[in-house]
């Protein structure tokens, strides 16, 4: 088993080398956004220093170079997720926009009155609201797949919900609020057997494991660059070719057309028909650098490192007492979501912040699951591969202090 050199990886993240409130920063808000390695920051800066121009248009050297890095990034992402072709990689602003593209474009053509869209009860609002918007327009219904008390999808209940009216099943690979890992391969298999399409929200999982679109077999796959060490404002939508071909464009504008006249307009081919306007070229460059960063790691060693952190943090949190875990699914990424017996999550977050420890508190844009558990929100400490055992110690010490203060 190879050793994961966390100190070396950590040293590549300049932002982590700072003090907050007089103490070394402990950054445990990675489920909200990960920090960026020097290589990503440099790639974006270098693009603007040397290659910046608009893509696919200019008859000049800079435009050629910009187009090359931009399309090179698409090719790299296609390989990264095992997509059959780079034409099936659409650039978006993030996971949220990716889901909105599918809901609006695919939903408009494929949902009719009485159709059903299933989403898990612990989805992020970004994988609920776009479906509600199109469902309302088309007379369809959005229904929750039940989640049990541990924060795992109730697969038996899911199976019994499936019938011929279910046209779409949209689930997260990993819950942002609880860290639960959902059995997406099984979900895809059951949904396809029932004739439904499947969208996987990979925002919280993309940084964790290698994936392969052909093996996974999902119809749509959405993720954001900024949760995998890349820039904000950049996202990916993968789709099966025949589905993307049949879908109408999401927005109109330049780049997405083949020819325009007042008699009628014809659309460009994939992926450009979904990319109206000047795209986020620097974002694509940054995402490509993030893919290089991730692929340069021993991913299974990184995964073991994170699992160790979670294991220790869970045990030590339980030892303090008064901080019940929310979400205890057996299969989970390194997310510690908990409440306290003696104070509001926000109190805990504020006391941790004073100690230089960054966590998220609140409902994590997943209100339905918070309502199900009867809590206003949780404290969420989410780890990434650059977090250390020392970070766990600081969190635990911080929580002991918060208990002393507030209990």
């Amino acid at each position: 088993m190879s050793h994961f050199d966390v100190a070396e990886v950590r040293s590549r993240f300049p932002i982590l080398q700072q003090e907050v409130n007089g103490q070394p920063l402990v950054y445990l808000d990675n489920a909200a956004t990960t920090q960026k390695p020097e290589s990503v920051i440099e790639a974006i800066a270098n693009y603007y220093r040397h290659d910046n121009a608009n893509v696919h248009r200019g008859a000049h050297a800079l435009s050629d170079r910009a187009t090359e890095v931009f399309e090179g990034a698409r090719e790299k992402v296609a390989q990264f997720i095992g997509a059959p072709s780079k034409d099936q990689i659409l650039w978006t602003r993030g996971t949220t926009e990716s889901i909105n593209v599918v809901a609006a474009s695919w939903g408009e053509q494929n949902l009719t009155a009485g159709d059903r869209v299933l989403v898990s009860a612990m989805e992020h609002h970004a994988n609920i609201v776009p479906w509600q918007m199109i469902a309302q327009k088309r007379g369809a219904n959005v229904e929750p797949i039940p989640v049990d008390a541990d924060g795992a999808i109730d697969m038996a209940a899911f199976e019994s919900l499936l019938d011929e009216r279910v046209k779409m099943v949209a689930v997260g690979h990993v819950s942002n609020a609880l860290g639960s890992v959902n059995p997406v391969a099984h979900i895809i298999e059951l949904a396809h057997k029932a004739g439904a399409k499947v969208l996987i929200d990979a925002a919280q999982s993309i940084a964790h494991w290698p994936v392969n679109m052909v093996e996974l077999g999902c119809d749509f796959y959405a993720f954001s660059a900024h949760k995998m060490f890349g820039p904000t404002g950049m996202g990916v939508l993968y789709g099966k070719r025949e589905l993307l071909e049949a879908m109408q464009p999401y927005q109109g504008g330049g780049e997405m057309i083949e020819s325009v006249s007042f008699a009628g307009t014809t659309y460009n081919q994939l992926p450009y028909k979904f990319e109206a306007g000047t795209p986020n070229i620097a974002g694509a460059v940054g995402l490509a650098a993030a893919v290089d960063f991730v692929q340069g790691l021993d991913r299974s060693a990184a995964d073991r490192h994170e699992a160790e952190l979670l294991h220790r943090a869970r045990a030590e949190l339980a030892a303090i007492g008064g901080y019940p875990l929310v979400g205890k699914a057996e299969s989970a990424v390194a997310v510690l979501s908990f409440v306290s017996d003696f104070a509001h999550p926000q109190d805990i977050g504020m006391i941790l912040d004073q100690q230089g420890i960054a966590v998220r508190t609140g409902n994590h844009c997943a209100q339905p699951i918070m309502d199900q558990f009867g809590i206003p929100g949780t404290v969420r400490a989410s780890f990434s591969l650059y977090n250390t055992h020392d970070d766990v110690d600081r969190l635990i010490a911080g929580l002991k202090k918060a208990k002393m203060f507030l209990a």
């Binding site: 104070a343 509001h344 926000q346 006391i351 929100g377 203060f405 507030l406």
Partner: protein, 140 residues
């Protein structure tokens, strides 16, 4: 209703907080101030009195008596409740004109708590201050 901040003035709070030199003492004091806030009756925790914050819930009730405004506030989070007490100390028992004109930013700056007033903190404090100011203007 009984109000907080008639006996404890904003000046008292500024004096006391400036006396502490570490965050732990400051936060203990803020939490203690919150504990002194008279509880808001459950019947006053109405939708109308709810101040929309992102995370914790904040309620604000007010009365105009003999030309002076009186506020009662509550929150389900301790530290936010302490911050509410600090805000009420500045406003309670003042005339509408005093409430409308009061420079809360300067007060929070003096307390070195300005970051808590930022709208990005999502603690509902900014929204509560705005509501108090609006009531001051409405009562002019």
């Amino acid at each position: 209703m009984t109000e907080f901040g008639v006996d404890v003035s904003a000046e008292d709070i500024v004096d006391t907080l400036s006396f502490f030199d570490d965050w732990e003492e400051r936060y203990k004091y803020i939490i203690d101030l919150g504990k002194e806030l008279p509880p808001l009756a459950e019947s006053a925790k109405t939708e109308q009195n709810l101040v929309r914050g992102c995370q914790s819930q904040v309620w604000l009730d007010s009365q105009l008596r003999e030309g002076k405004l009186y506020f009662v506030a509550d929150s389900d989070a301790f530290i936010v409740k302490g911050l509410l007490a600090i805000v009420l100390a500045a406003y309670n028992g003042k005339s509408a004109a005093q409430v409308a004109d009061y420079d809360i930013d300067a007060y929070f700056d003096e307390l070195n708590l300005l970051s808590h007033l930022s709208s990005t903190r999502g603690n509902g404090l900014k929204a509560m201050v705005q509501r108090i100011q609006n009531e001051g203007r409405a009562a002019l």
